[in-house]
């Protein structure tokens, strides 16, 4: 007999898509970012439900998944975009799942008639995957009415609308400037369904990020260095040009340089342990501690 009310196992669909392990790695490797992770879960659930609906013959246009990532520098926008490409690929929303990361330079030309081919070229490359436009607000320069950025925006809009099942566009940038950008380009704002805000990291989260980075590089902190790093993070956060995880990565890179120098200065053979350990002095030598 024909079943008038068939059922679909959503969990099975989710497992089938192998999307859970991407979300788990996201949880494991990205510290904090709770609202972002929640949003990604929502989107994954939404796509699974759309798939289930389609399998039962319920109508539904493919959902629009263009997104905007706003947040301060170093809050993980690019990293999440790469993962997003993978998640969308596993859920069958994009065919290839690669990420094409561009900025204004890659889209906007230098003379009349140069912009359209350039933008189209990038769009063609991104088809089947995700186009990530970093610092997207630079596309729109209201102070120069002959700026070619507007042309790039118009082509983008057209493709975002007509080729919705060929690519997903993710715009990224600082919150306030992106807000201005969307206000002056209502067409863009209305075509982007998901606005995701990346919060700044807390001190504890930044420390955790540092620990993760060091562990990946086979380094570790001795007790003094751990305290110094915590202190460093607290001080660095209050200083200008703080770029969250990026500042931490740079600080660790410099600490590694100093460690190498220190090991050389001893002039003796070094142990495996010594090669791995970052000491307090390596971190305390930073200009952050010299009040500068």
């Amino acid at each position: 007999m024909h079943n008038a009310n068939p059922t679909v196992d959503l969990q099975a669909l989710l497992r089938e898509a192998n999307v859970l392990d991407v979300i788990e790695t996201l949880d494991r490797e990205l510290v904090g970012l709770l609202p972002v992770k929640q949003r990604i879960r929502d989107i994954a659930a939404y796509l699974v439900v759309s798939k289930a609906r389609a399998s039962l013959g319920l109508t539904g246009a493919p959902p629009s998944l263009h997104m905007s990532f706003t947040g301060n520098p170093g809050t993980g926008k690019t990293t999440v975009a790469t993962r997003m490409a993978e998640i969308l690929h596993r859920l069958g929303y994009v065919r290839k799942g690669h990420l094409v990361s561009v900025t204004r330079d890659d889209l906007v030309g230098q003379y009349i008639g140069h912009t359209a081919p350039k933008t189209k070229e990038v769009l063609k490359r991104a088809m089947g995957g995700v186009l990530f436009i970093d610092e997207a607000y630079y596309l729109y320069r209201p102070e120069n009415e002959r700026d070619y950025g507007q042309e790039a925006i118009e082509i983008l809009l057209q493709v975002m609308e007509n080729n919705r099942d060929d690519l997903v566009v993710i715009l990224a940038g600082y919150k306030d400037r992106m807000d201005t950008f969307f206000r002056s380009n209502p067409g863009m704002a209305s075509r982007i369904a998901h606005h995701i805000d990346f919060p700044d990291y807390s001190e504890a989260e930044l420390y955790e990020i540092a620990a993760l980075m060091l562990a990946k590089l086979d380094y570790r902190l001795d007790a003094g260095a751990a305290a110094a790093l915590a202190e460093y993070i607290a001080k660095r956060r209050t200083q200008p040009h703080f770029a969250n995880a990026r500042s931490i990565r740079n600080a660790l890179d410099r600490a590694r340089l100093r460690q190498a120098n220190r090991l050389f200065a001893t002039g003796k053979p070094v142990t495996r342990d010594a090669l791995q350990t970052i000491a307090a002095a390596d971190i305390r030598a930073s200009r952050v501690f010299q009040g500068g």
Binding site: R95, L123, K124, R125, M127, G128, N163, D166
Partner: protein, 138 residues
């Protein structure tokens, strides 16, 4: 007379979905896809007009299909073909080439006999279409 040049030319015209699958195959092999068009159907005419640059770092057929359709829109009654170029050493040439658009009416070819020295005759073929100037042949 239907022109048969390149791959698949003895088959019925490919649909867009079939063209996309062929392009997908080319991309999977790492070949660069290019679109060319002409209104000079002579089989020895190898210099077709390029429709834009060959598309080198394409990942998906949708991008190439976009160009095919743009070319069709601009030259609805030209011959349009898709070429797939293999740049690996030792090949460095076109590996796949097929027609994706042709004029509605293809008038075919006539034999032209040229009398030359002595009583000898040189034979050649010429399309009826080329009687009219370039751009207004079909």
């Amino acid at each position: 007379m239907r022109i048969t040049q390149g791959t698949f030319s003895f088959l019925p015209d490919l649909t867009d979905a079939e063209i996309a699958l062929q392009i997908e195959y080319a991309l999977k092999n790492g070949w660069a896809v290019a679109v060319e068009h002409t209104d000079e159907p002579h089989p020895r005419n190898v210099y077709w007009e390029m429709w834009g640059m060959p598309m080198f770092d394409l990942k998906d057929a949708a991008g190439a299909l976009l160009e095919v359709n743009a070319c069709r829109k601009a030259f609805p009654s030209d011959y349009i073909k898709v070429n797939a170029f293999d740049s690996t050493q030792g090949w460095e040439s076109t590996r796949l080439s097929f027609i994706v658009n042709r004029p509605k009416n293809e008038p075919g070819f006539r034999v032209v006999r040229q009398e030359s020295a002595g009583r000898s005759i040189r034979y050649t073929v010429e399309s009826y279409a080329v009687d009219r100037p370039e751009g207004s042949r079909y």
